[in-house]
């Protein structure tokens, strides 16, 4: 009887703890979203002055905002195009060298993930500026972000490649396939899911990056830079509309992702 009771108490307290944790995670997101539709000139949910679409309309007619979204998309595409092939090359390289060398190269190639974004921004800026007189802008931002996003892609490729069935490779070689054929007919198709998830990850990381971008963007703007300057100078509920839309997008994407993952796991 006592055992049963303590189990129930544990069960209830665990549920309560989860409940509190999720309130903590979601309350801020709800507050930010609701304020997008409050008829108030500053972002707030209280006092509620009535429902309005005014800020939603203003959001879509905000040219500076739209331009910074476009810049973010350009940078993200550039980062994907650079970091996926580079991360893949890194993974293939690491898996085909000796153990000792692998540990050293691995540490260096993974180090950008463990480096604060601010430092990557500074180092990239200092090098390109002093050696090639390149100043901040979209191109330099792509370079800086690629530095660490390639490492993330590389890790995804490595974990996929570790599941690779070596017998497939041997069988193909026995049947007379050249190493190049082997790669394009067997390894690459096997890597397909990892390429998709690395692309999605690279895109998200690039669009959401702030610390590195801050040092490399120069006089241009991206979506995160625009958000940063909006909060400091000229805060209107247009920012809440942006938050609301991106939260909505994330909810859709997360649900799709989780459903797909469940399908994969059976």
């Amino acid at each position: 009887m006592i055992k049963f009771n303590s189990k129930t108490i544990l069960n209830i307290s665990v549920k309560f703890y989860f409940f509190l944790f999720f309130i903590y995670l979601f309350l801020p997101l709800l507050v930010v979203s609701f304020a997008a539709f409050n008829d108030s000139s500053i972002p707030t949910v209280y006092p509620w002055k009535g429902f309005t679409f005014e800020w939603l309309i203003k959001f879509f007619s905000d040219e500076a905002l739209m331009k910074s979204i476009l810049n973010s998309l350009i940078i993200a595409i550039g980062v994907v195009l650079l970091s996926i092939p580079m991360g893949l090359a890194g993974a293939l390289f690491l898996l085909s060298i000796g153990n000792k060398a692998r540990n050293i190269f691995y540490a260096v190639l993974v180090s950008p993930i463990l480096t604060p974004g601010v430092i990557i921004g500074i180092a990239t800026l200092v090098m390109w500026n002093s050696l090639f007189e390149v100043s901040g802008g979209l191109a330099l931002t792509i370079v800086g972000q690629t530095t660490f996003i390639s490492s993330m892609a590389m890790l995804l490729f490595m974990s996929r490649l570790q599941k690779f069935n070596k017998n497939l490779e041997l069988a193909a070689l026995d049947l007379g396939a050249s190493p190049t054929q082997l790669f394009f007919k067997i390894t690459l198709p096997f890597l397909k899911p990892a390429i998709y998830s690395a692309t999605a990850l690279a895109f998200l990381q690039s669009v959401q990056n702030y610390n590195t971008t801050l040092f490399l963007i120069g006089t241009k703007s991206t979506i995160t830079i625009h958000i940063g300057s909006m909060i400091k100078l000229g805060l209107t509920p247009v920012l809440n509309v942006l938050a609301f839309i991106s939260i909505l997008l994330v909810i859709i994407l997360s649900t799709l992702y989780a459903l797909k993952k469940r399908e994969e796991n059976g």
């Binding site: 665990v14 703890y17 989860f18 944790f21 999720f22 903590y24 979601f26 309350l27 801020p28 507050v31 930010v32 304020a35 972002p43 707030t44 949910v45 209280y46 092939p85 580079m86 090359a89 890194g90 390289f93 085909s96 540990n103 190269f105 691995y106 540490a107 260096v108 993974v110 180090s111 604060p116 974004g117 601010v118 500074i122 180092a123 990239t124 200092v126 090098m127 002093s130 530095t147 890790l155 490595m158 974990s159 050249s178 190493p179 190049t180 790669f183 959401q208 610390n211 801050l214 040092f215 995160t224 940063g228 909060i231 400091k232 942006l242 938050a243 991106s246 994330v250 997360s254 989780a258």
Partner: protein
């Protein structure tokens, strides 16, 4: 090296080698070397000052000679002299535009001697440790229960619930807390309404808002790694220990925590690194009296225009993070290679 060509063929092998070396050198190593180099030199201000003084003196001399020339317009000697002085001045002007680089420990001494900056540097360390500890304490039970107690269906829902806030942009999440903690924000209005306080609390004037924002921004970076390792733990181990009479505390101490070590180490490293290196959170949630180290770095680059000093400060932050990572890998007896899993 020959293994690469054997395995992937010539064309592909060359691509793999070139691409990896390019990434390694131009993207990762060279920028860091240049940053270190930048931190070690500074422009020679004194020499520049001297040059300016010289130029001023020559300028005064020229002015006097020009006055003389006005009285005796035919004096070719003076004309010649003015020409010589003018040439000298343009030479000095050019020199002073490109002051000499001097290698010294000056930039490091500046940080060591600046009381305020030193204080902020240590504040960054302590606050990052605090944020990391809070995240660990809150996340460990969540990760454990999520991995071992939740039903399969509940797990998917909870998982979606966790990745939504994880994927929402850091700045927008921080902005949410800006709304909640501001002078007329939800917390202040509800506390006043409940009669607990009668004056709004100014969260932004001390470090509290920034700390709250940092915990919120990075807590999930602690949760996911721990959850990932715990998920692979064989439940039978726990059951066996329980059957053998181990207490709840012993099971955690002897089985679960040792098993979760790599995940805990990754979580701690990421949360610390992200907190110590954050610019967004303190710049949104910090007031004028709660400056963060990254904000000083930023202002060296874009307000002060002293990149050398900025590079020095950046390097100190990097050294801090590397030291922290090394200590954690030692403490948890984890290798860098195990972390990727």
């Amino acid at each position: 090296m020959t293994k690469i060509f054997k395995r992937y063929g010539k064309g592909l092998g060359i691509y793999i080698l070139l691409s990896t070396m390019l990434w390694l050198s131009i993207f990762i190593i060279f920028p860091q070397i240049l940053m270190v180099n930048y931190s070690m030199w500074s422009y020679d201000d004194q020499a520049q000052e001297q040059l300016w003084q010289d130029a001023d003196k020559l300028d005064a001399k020229r002015y006097k000679l020009e006055l003389v020339l006005k009285e005796q317009p035919q004096n070719s000697k003076i004309k010649e002299e003015i020409k010589v002085i003018s040439n000298k001045i343009t030479k000095i002007d050019k020199l002073s535009q490109y002051p000499e680089k001097v290698y010294s420990t000056k930039n490091y001494e500046y940080l060591a001697k600046n009381k305020l900056h030193r204080k902020i540097f240590f504040k960054t360390i302590w606050s990052s440790i605090l944020v990391t500890l809070i995240a660990l304490i809150v996340c460990y039970p969540i990760a454990y229960f999520l991995a071992h107690i939740a039903s399969k269906k509940g797990k998917i829902l909870l998982f979606i619930g966790l990745i939504i806030p994880y994927w929402v942009d850091e700045l927008l999440r921080t902005f949410a807390w800006f709304m909640i903690l501001s002078y007329n924000g939800i917390i202040n209005t509800s506390l006043i309404w409940m009669g607990i306080i009668d004056q709004p609390i100014e969260f932004f004037q001390n470090n509290s808002a920034a700390l709250i924002g940092m915990v919120y921004a990075y807590i999930l970076f602690m949760l996911f790694p721990i959850y990932n390792t715990l998920e692979t733990l064989d439940k039978n181990q726990i059951l066996a220990a329980r059957d053998l009479g181990a207490s709840w505390l012993t099971i955690h101490k002897r089985i679960i925590i040792p098993y979760a070590k790599p995940g805990i180490a990754v979580g701690i490293i990421f949360v610390f690194m992200l907190t110590a290196g954050t610019y967004a959170v303190p710049s949104i949630l910090g007031g004028t009296s709660s400056i963060w180290f990254t904000q000083i770095i930023y202002s060296w680059f874009f307000d002060g225009g002293n990149w050398n000093q900025g590079a020095t400060y950046g390097l100190m932050l990097l050294v801090l993070c590397i030291t922290f990572i090394m200590i954690m890998l030692k403490v948890f007896k984890v290798k860098l290679e195990d972390m990727a899993k």
